[in-house]
């Protein structure tokens, strides 16, 4: 049993979820409060990465990010960022692909808060940022949790985009989902089963921990 793909998977899932969390909050905040007319268009665009088959999306990303093409070249030359066949690329691809899973629940959560909470904080001289961090977000915990769980689980299971842009390089971009897929393709069902079982079990306990923490399970018993 090769543990590297599993380690890589959880590294990817954690990094992706963390970045998504940070990126999605301002987007969701804006979408939930703007009265701009282009809001429905942007809301729709956020969901669009889901619509294409992952490998196809991956292929388009490959084309865009390839250093042989204008944008990829610019990234490479000017910023020294190489997004294809690298862990960084996996992260970027996963972030784009899972964006709707984080943005949408947070946006729905923020929309449902009474506006007086925000207003009360403003009249206390608190900035939008402080209000967001200390008042709004802590009161939409179920929605944040939904976003985190969906993004995390989706990143763990994704392999189409990741395979395409990562190139299945052992130790670098070969995550567990690809390893399992390989074994199934190679008809090594026993190996596939044990990978799946381990992936499943670890993720199950991570998510269970998240839910238990959220349900106040640990708090309740620590008092």
């Amino acid at each position: 049993m090769d543990w590297q793909p599993l380690v890589l998977t959880f590294k990817l899932a954690v990094v992706t979820t963390a970045i998504l969390f940070v990126v999605s909050i301002p987007i969701a905040r804006w979408l939930s409060s703007t009265k701009s007319k282009i809001r429905p268009v942007l809301e729709t665009l956020v969901s669009m990465p889901l619509v294409l088959p992952p490998t196809v999306l991956g292929f388009y990303m490959l084309v865009v990010f390839s250093p042989e093409n204008a944008f990829g070249n610019w990234l490479n030359e000017w910023l020294g960022i190489k997004l294809i066949f690298s862990f960084g690329g996996l992260v970027v691809a996963s972030v784009i692909y899972s964006l709707p899973f984080m943005v949408q629940p947070i946006q729905a959560g923020l929309s449902s808060l009474p506006s007086t909470l925000k207003e009360a904080s403003y009249t206390m001289g608190k900035s939008k940022m402080t209000t967001l961090l200390k008042v709004l977000l802590p009161n939409i915990k179920p929605s944040l949790l939904t976003g985190i769980v969906l993004s995390f689980a989706h990143t763990v299971g994704e392999f189409g985009v990741v395979l395409m842009i990562g190139g299945n390089m052992p130790g670098k971009t070969k995550v567990a989902s690809i390893a399992i897929y390989d074994e199934v393709e190679a008809l090594n069902y026993v190996a596939a089963n044990s990978y799946s079982l381990i992936l499943f079990t670890i993720t199950f306990f991570i998510l269970l921990l998240v839910y238990l923490t959220n349900g106040g399970y640990f708090k309740r018993y620590s008092q």
């Binding site: 009360a120 904080s121 403003y122 009161n139």
Partner: protein, 290 residues
């Protein structure tokens, strides 16, 4: 001094009100906005505190322009620093009572005010509780003292005491007066309770359909000066009872019921629920503590 000159069309599915308001409030005054439900009292307070943008007009506080539609000035609520007690409390559900208060602290502000306020509002025992486990009245107390934490120059109170029991209400009324004086606050209250208004405020503005229809010092406003010469109470007829040839009319005045004897023709004039004046030319009252 606060000068408000506000125009705003309050839109809604059922109709609209054109709010058109000129108000001047002296620094340090305690004023009350009075008026029917839906008259625009809350909307006025929201415009003053920067939570609702007027269609046009100006807001000037002291020498500072807070809002001017022509000069395109519109200070943010954060810059206006008013203490605002909301009608729905707006307590932060994620914070305990103490944390709600602490959140309102300004940078480098002395923390002792928290303990002081908690103690005063008798919230000491509840300080670790989350808002959802509080009773209605407890929530309202927290909301009130939270607005005082930042020691605002202007304190806005949108029916702050309506859900309180008498004891707590009197206590908080006293405290409101105290802090109003101590911190040299300009306080703007919305209240329907005349006793409360009389007790607390210097001036009253009555709103109707978005305009000030009557204003004056509290005593003038309620015509209380007249009571100095002779005794006169306003009250409400509760019961009209026939006793032999006479009628006894029970009138509720404040929390007390008094009975007035009337003859038949007099009694026929009244029906239950009528607002009445009860007066007496000869009145030498004795006052006694309870």
């Amino acid at each position: 001094m606060i000068s408000l000159n506000l125009k705003k069309t309050l839109k809604s599915a059922g109709g609209k009100i054109d709010l058109n308001l000129q108000l001047t409030i002296e620094k340090g005054q305690f004023v009350t906005l009075f008026g029917e439900s839906g008259a625009g009292k809350t909307s006025t307070l929201r415009m003053l505190s920067g939570l609702l943008r007027p269609d046009s007009g100006t807001i000037k506080v002291g020498e500072t322009i807070w809002f001017d539609s022509h000069k395109n000035i519109d200070l943010k609520p954060q810059q206006r620093k008013v203490g605002y007690v909301f009608q729905d409390y707006a307590l932060f559900p994620n914070m305990s009572v103490r944390q709600n208060l602490e959140y309102a602290l300004q940078k480098n502000q002395d923390r002792t005010i928290i303990g002081e306020l908690l103690e005063f509002a008798e919230l000491g025992e509840l300080e670790q509780r989350k808002p959802e486990t509080l009773s209605g009245g407890q929530k309202q107390r927290v909301a009130l003292v939270r607005a005082l934490v930042q020691r605002p120059e202007i304190l806005i109170l949108d029916e702050p005491l309506s859900a309180l029991d008498l004891k707590m209400r009197i206590k908080l009324q006293e405290y409101l007066l105290q802090v109003h004086k101590k911190y040299n606050l300009t306080t703007i209250l919305v209240s329907h309770d005349i006793g409360e208004i009389v007790k607390l405020s210097d001036r009253v503005y009555e709103l109707q359909n978005g305009s000030v229809i009557k204003k004056g010092t509290t005593t003038d406003f309620f015509g209380l000066n007249k009571t100095s010469a002779k005794f006169r109470f306003s009250g409400e007829v509760l019961k009209i009872q026939r006793e032999d040839v006479l009628y006894v009319i029970s009138v509720l005045i404040g929390n007390d019921i008094i009975k007035v004897v009337a003859d038949r023709t007099e009694a026929n004039n009244f029906k239950i629920g009528d607002q009445v004046l009860v007066a007496s030319k000869a009145f030498n009252p004795i006052i006694q503590k309870i």
